[in-house]
Subunit: 329 residues, 2 copies
Amino acid sequence: MATIRDVAELAKVSTATVSRVINSNGYVNDGTKKRVKEAIEQLNYLPNDVARSLFKGQSKMIALFVPDITNPFFPELARAIEDVTNRHDYTFVLCNTDNDIDKQMDYLNALQQKSADGFIIVSSSLREEDLQHIQVPIVALDRIISPDISSVTVNNRSGSVQAVQYLKSIGCTRIAHIAGPEHVDNAALRLRGYLDEVKHEDWFNSDYVVSGAYNFDVAREAAIKLLTNYPEINGIFAGNDLMGAGVLNAAASVGKKVPDDLAVAGFDGIAIGGTLTPTLTTMAQPIYDIGAKAAEILMTQIQSAEYGVAAEELTVRLIERQSTLKGGV
Amino acid sequence: MATIRDVAELAKVSTATVSRVINSNGYVNDGTKKRVKEAIEQLNYLPNDVARSLFKGQSKMIALFVPDITNPFFPELARAIEDVTNRHDYTFVLCNTDNDIDKQMDYLNALQQKSADGFIIVSSSLREEDLQHIQVPIVALDRIISPDISSVTVNNRSGSVQAVQYLKSIGCTRIAHIAGPEHVDNAALRLRGYLDEVKHEDWFNSDYVVSGAYNFDVAREAAIKLLTNYPEINGIFAGNDLMGAGVLNAAASVGKKVPDDLAVAGFDGIAIGGTLTPTLTTMAQPIYDIGAKAAEILMTQIQSAEYGVAAEELTVRLIERQSTLKGGV
């Protein structure tokens, strides 16, 4: 492997000059610059990023923590973040944490040792105090960890109000909700939004809210029971799309036609929703934009220490598909 | 931040002794070891991995190249690889290449500069000569790039034979195939397997093979045409599950009942298949095992230069679900 010394010798300059050309700092006249560049090419010299990060204390590497990349919400998020980091010549590290505190702390320590420059974190378990020893920028996704840590979230509660209003507008008169896990902030907010919109209706029945655990099978079983016990239900708002998919399967198994007998809407806007039968209406989060925005905030904070805390709330939007459009499939 | 010198001073030993304790090499008596460890804890000292990788020329970092992590096949693969690398204390870097040659070469060069220790590559475009300058181990997934590069693949062709035999065994007498892109090796092999099993049937018609481009919408449109023009078709083998989902939606839109009028099977075994209505029968690849196996091979090759080329072919297996089980949903 060629060294900086080999390049300097071939170009007949000092190693300091080669370094100035590589790092584009300090004046070097055009003729010299050309000679150095030719020598670099000829020798196939790669300036070593490891050596650079040792001197600068930076690795040009950032990490994303997600509970599990196989949860269909996260791949699009990861793609967006990686696109941005790649454009900035940063390396993108992916960590599956299972929301486990010890695993998250281990990742944080290991990556600090490798001089990681920043973290984007999706976690329902990490608390502010767990992050106090981190000396690089952090952006929290999906949930606000602390007012001192930047975050990108969406309007879960008002988005859910909007979803239920939409179901009413297309003629649903008995609307149930399949809720996510109570301890997850966004699930609690979506339930809140549903209740905001239905709790004063004379038909409202607290048995219309059942838990689907953000899981296909659990939601499917819950929906089968719900539709069997309360055949008057003609609209279901599922707290996420995966549970919406479970409702569609439940409806088929109890002989309810979607959307004619039962309209179904989910939340999230994951790609799967568009591949179901019928395709699933949803309150879509701008998933790609959330990831890209988080990555841009992180890049800005890494590059400029003066940049303050950012708290962005993006807006969900309705995507109408076959599961609510009569004459649909 | 504490330095190794601070630790040495507090523990009243030399920095060389501290280094021996940290790296667990060379003899240090138990009393001294305890003092060093206590000093490390007290000072919250983190030995710097960056400095280590500079001396050793290793970063304890490996990278996975996928065309696009949002393709639902890749998240489970990435999860498996990251689980293994994490167990070995390696950092996992994810790169979305879009199968673009320039992008792949840029990633390879950038990661070599960062002293990446190995690569796991899913690519239908990279050729053997593109990888000749890589001096660390590589494992190719899904496709054999060269006999000199380790690989993990599955039995695409015989697995497809098995899928079609299964459709025959449940009573299908006219079986069509939705094929993936011609230039993708596994799509060509799956088509080959379908033809192996049907080309000598008196009912075989080459119009029963249509292209679905490994895409939901393209497959859906193709299946609508197919089922309209050839209403006698009572079985469809889709070259992947995403196209299988398109077939299910197409069947609903032309009024064919699945599985009573039409049995549908896919290939891949992605999680989505279990969340469709009806749930989709598939020839499942052992996706997690493929990723884990590739990561284990890579780890072995990184740790021992003498280890030769591995070429593993894993076996797909049938998962029967509602789309072929009469009385299903």
